[in-house]
Amino acid sequence: MELKRYIGRRLVQIFVIFFVILTVLFLLFRLAPGDPVSRMVDPNLTPEDAALLIKEFGLDQPLLMQYLYYLKNFFTGHFGFSFHYGQPVVQIIWNRLPNTILLFTTSIILSALVGIFLGKIASWHKGEKTDICMTLGALVTHTIFLPWLALIMIWVFAYKLGWFPITGMITVEIWLDPQAGLWTKALDVLYHMTLPLATLFLIHFGSYLLIMRSSMLDTLKEDYILTGRAKGLSEKVIRDHHAAPNAALPVVTSVGLSLAFSINGGALTETVFTWPGIGRELVFSVSHNDYPLAQASFLLIAIVVLLSNLVVDILYAYLDPRIRY
């Protein structure tokens, strides 16, 4: 009951914050170098035609009216047409978003689970060979520059060894084949996803491992761990049942933040692996002055960040009974 009220309150907060973001974004695009008129209107048009077009777009209206139109369009789901694709922006984003979510959610959940598990083991063997190897490995992979690792992965596993495809998300022939079942198609996507997934996993699991390790080391000094030992619990129960749930809390925050920023942070990965997701679309729209597409992508990022934070807060309340709202 309390939780429900809390979520309701958070939703209102989120709505207010989102409104602010919406406004800032509106102003930002109008403050950007080169006024929107010259960017949106073809310079080859006659001045009369240009004026007509400007009037049609509503760009001759005062800023306030433009803002109100902007809000109305947003809340009725009209994001305009992409300059480059000539398709509705909503449709483009709707096509790209699942690809991004598939790749990044999988990689983050995978690296968090492995990171938490290995971090727990490392802290348990603190100072021993196991710990030193894991910590060093985590530090190295964590600090590698992502695009470089991505290129090396492609060069070794796709180009030299030929185990995985170099680009893309699907094999067109398989998807055009009417005989191919869902299972074949899923395997095809998994096959294409392996390299970007492995790259993201290698980059991310180290930070979770390090957070979990240091959090575990702090937790193991807590008095309730001593109570557990005094109660005659086995070391395994103390580690997994008493220390790990407490120690995993900071990792959850970190996972939430990674989820939130994966959409835009994925720009590099998606570009290198030509993964047809939102990140690549964002880079493309910005570099091609595709104004409506860029604006919608930014709004999408804002929504994802806000919602991930909400999910983390709810998850926290579930994991830590001390947090009640």
């Binding site: 807590e222 008095d223 309730y224 001593l226 109570t227 557990g228 030992r229 005094a230 109660k231 005659g232 619990l233 086995s234 129960v237 008493h242 749930p245 407490n246 994991l319 830590d320 009974p321 001390r322």
Partner: protein, 323 residues
Amino acid sequence: MALLVVENLSVGYQTQNGYLHAVEGVSFSLDAGKSLGFVGESGCGKTTLGMAVMRLLPSNGLIREGRILFDGEDLLTKTDEEMRQIRWQEIAMIFQAAMNALNPVHRVIDQITEAIYTHTPSHNKNEAHEQVRALFKFVGLPEDRMRDYPHQYSGGMKQRAIIAMALACKPKLIIADEPTTALDVIVQDQILEETKSLQREFGVSIIYISHDISIVADICHDIGVMYAGQLVEYGAREEVFDNPSHPYTKALLSSYPTLTGEKSQLMPIPGEAPNLINPPFGCRFSDRCTEASVSCKSNPSVWLEITPTHKVLCHQCGKHCGE
């Protein structure tokens, strides 16, 4: 027969500055159903002593010599697994509630039943819950709070829950380490009453560790006074109280106020406890002692029996008696 006999126990810690002699040559015995209190200032080794009996010293802790006989068996020769079985089933602990002794992410009932399941796996859920209900009733906690989390309890309730947890496996010995220290005096008094009644009803032996001599005097049959890692005076409560023999015990008694009796000036003990990495060769209290002589500093102190149940570790006392 004595339930617990500790003979010449020495415990130390490996520290960056060298080996720290936390407990040196401590011997005592405790009969079944009796209670023994250890008093002394911070750092005198009383907590280390309790932890050594449970064999729960931190990783840099080392039991250098001595024997700990529990029910006639030496705990120091037990394997880790055997020791794990003894913990809580035979010897339980009551921790200070101000410490985070209860795990914040688990319900209180689950933390108590966990101890029951660990030592008697045959218990089913209903039996265990029934047992917790009875324990809650005994320590005066409302049954409907069993499923709460520790942070929903007040300090006094947490302390009661910890006592209930200590009783869960019906141990023969309970080591209570400063259980009332962080509580206000009224709750402190209630907890002390409960400790006394659990001793009456369960017939359990208690080792009570405190810096507060008045608390120990309230509930213990025997009192051991510790100073700088050594037991300096040991005897029945009345004897230690009515005839404090070690200068440290005397000083300790006169540094606490009394509600009854004549008003007297509180006497602080000047100076501080010696460094336990290089403890003095002679009597460890000699630097702060008003009665110390040259021989106190140059010779190790020896035990002197005042009565069969009252001993003191002091040169001067011996001299007085000899005179």
